[in-house]
């Protein structure tokens, strides 16, 4: 009687596992499972992800198939009997997975991931430099203006409504700095190097469509590099909990054609001009 009930359980569980495997794998074909990508390194990130999907998917599928097969074969009626494996087989079953896992995962991170990672953190000399400042719960971007220099940000001059970056009116570098609340403007196809800072707590500059994510840490300037590849308007969402307003700490990256970007930049006046 026990064996019969066991057979039911074996079939149930193994069909469930196979169903779960099919559904999980099938979901990749049915669901729109990632946002479109609009940056150069973003394609690399996606390449990396695709590689892991295949590697991990292989383990996932094989593992579940083996498990389900074993359940049916060795569950229920007692047909099989235990005989210890030989030492050699046992070592094979140990060294095999070790070599496989290390090779697959390290190859991926070194061959595909590494170069992309470097791309994100290498400042190229002709990059457009954009300064991003985060505060509860806003993104403020800044461009250096005509002189190409950023003015110093002074905490003592901070005023939410009047001077959210704490710029000094008397500082000639700061005078023509262009400050934009809640939006970033970028020319398409050109590298942009971001200096990211925060006034108060941790935030994270997260633009999923550009595959960009970099924490804003008070007291520290962090960097990331983006080369947008498509004109469009992409949402920034904060990705590091920063308080109750975390969920609505939004902003937009407006990627424009080079001409449109130049036009936009020209139309801007400095914060103290």
């Amino acid at each position: 009687m026990r064996s019969q009930r066991g057979a039911v359980s074996a079939w149930l569980l193994s069909s469930l596992l196979i169903l779960a495997t099919i559904l999980t794998v099938g979901a990749f074909f049915v669901l729109k499972w990632r946002p479109e990508v609009a940056s150069e390194h973003g394609r690399g990130v996606d390449r990396m992800i695709t590689y892991i999907i295949f590697a991990a998917g292989f383990i996932f599928v094989v593992g579940h198939l083996v498990l389900s097969t074993f359940l049916v074969k060795f569950g229920g009626k007692g047909t099989a009997a235990y005989k210890p494996m030989t030492h050699k087989t046992e070592m094979l079953f140990t060294i095999g997975p070790v070599v496989f896992m290390v090779a697959v995962s390290e190859l991926g991170v070194l061959a595909i991931g590494g170069p992309v990672w470097n791309q994100v953190y290498t400042h190229k000399p002709d990059d457009l430099v954009v300064d991003i400042t985060a505060k509860q719960y806003e993104w403020i971007s800044r461009y250096p203006g005509k002189d190409g220099k950023f003015g110093r940000k002074r905490p003592d001059l901070f005023d939410d409504q009047e001077n959210p970056l704490g710029l000094d009116r008397k500082d000639p570098d700061a005078k023509d700095d262009i400050v934009v609340r809640g939006a970033v403007y970028l020319p398409v196809g050109k590298g942009a190097w971001f200096n990211i800072q925060s006034w108060d707590v941790l935030h994270s500059f997260n633009v999923p469509v550009l595959r960009a994510k970099q924490d804003a840490v008070p007291g520290l300037t962090t960097h990331t590099r983006i080369v947008p590849t498509a004109v469009g308007r992409y949402e920034i969402s904060c990705a590091e909990i920063c308080g109750p307003g975390h969920y609505r700490m939004r902003g937009f990256v407006n990627v424009k054609s080079e001409a449109d970007f130049a036009k936009w930049l020209k139309s801007q006046v400095g914060w103290f001009e």
Partner: protein, 269 residues
């Protein structure tokens, strides 16, 4: 708060003590935290003294106007792009309200109140004062209310606002109103001129609330004028406050049934 800070260090020391109890026997180490007591603000709360009854037969009033001299500062325009609703209301950006000045220099949004000379208790009005959030602004931008009087805060926008007060003497509050029609009632229990309100979600939004022990306060309108009615005769010091141009005081005397005139002039700073 102080007690807990001391308490919370104690268990940590206890961990260490326990980690250290080598061969039996342990020691209850006690932690000590010290911190100056008392917050800012000093003596808050309702005024004491007898209930005031104003004799309508003798009471006078104070009235006047506030002006600004010099070149008005340029008004800052903030992009509202991050919020679709606000962006829709203000596609060209939102002007800051920090200095609203008429063509003839009439200065609006000045809070005028009697700073010295009033004693005693006044009955509290039962109806609340309303602070609206509408079109991604606070309305009114400057307002006054009695301490202990109810402040009704309402969201009239189809977006989330976050009401964050930054008081020195009163209790701070910081809460979200996620949808249109959300209301909250708050009380500020200590006299404080002024308490800044801001919206953490929309950096350009601010409001200023004056909390006063007595009913003698007013906010100048677009014409720069104000009036304090029903003032018992006596000598007073009146203060005018502006968020950008600072404070000014003037002393004056209100005669029986008289109307004392006052004018303030703010300059560019």
């Amino acid at each position: 708060m102080i007690r807990v800070s001391a308490l919370s260090t104690a268990p940590l020391l206890l961990v260490l003590a326990l980690l250290g109890s080598g061969c039996g026997g342990s020691d209850g180490a006690s932690g000590g935290g010290n911190k100056p007591a008392g917050g800012p603000g000093g003596d808050a709360g309702q005024p004491t003294g007898p209930d005031m009854k104003i004799d309508a037969g003798t009471a006078g009033s104070i009235s006047g106007a506030v002006k600004f001299e010099g070149t008005p500062p340029t008004e800052r325009v903030n992009s509202a792009e991050a919020d679709a609703y606000c962006h829709g209301k203000h596609p060209d950006g939102i002007k800051s309200e920090s200095s609203v000045i008429g063509a003839g220099g009439e200065l609006a949004n000045v809070f005028v109140w009697i700073k010295k000379g009033i004693t005693g208790k006044f009955p509290l009005p039962s109806e609340p004062v309303t602070l609206r959030q509408t079109g991604c602004r606070y309305e009114p931008h400057v307002l006054g209310l009695r301490n202990g009087q109810e402040l009704l805060i309402r969201n009239e926008d189809e977006t989330m606002h976050n009401v964050h007060s930054l008081p020195k003497a009163n209790e701070e509050f910081n809460f979200a109103q996620t949808k249109k029609g959300d209301e909250a009632k708050k009380k500020l229990s200590a006299q404080e001129v002024m308490v800044k309100f801001k919206c953490d979600a929309h950096g350009w939004m601010s409001a200023w609330v004056g909390v006063v022990n007595h009913p003698y306060f007013a906010v100048t309108g677009a014409d720069g004028k104000f009036e304090l009615k029903n003032v018992p005769p006596g000598e007073y010091e009146v203060e005018a406050w502006h968020e950008k141009f600072g404070k000014q005081q003037q002393a004056l005397k209100v005669e029986t049934k008289g109307d004392a005139k006052l004018s303030f002039t703010f300059k560019e700073n």
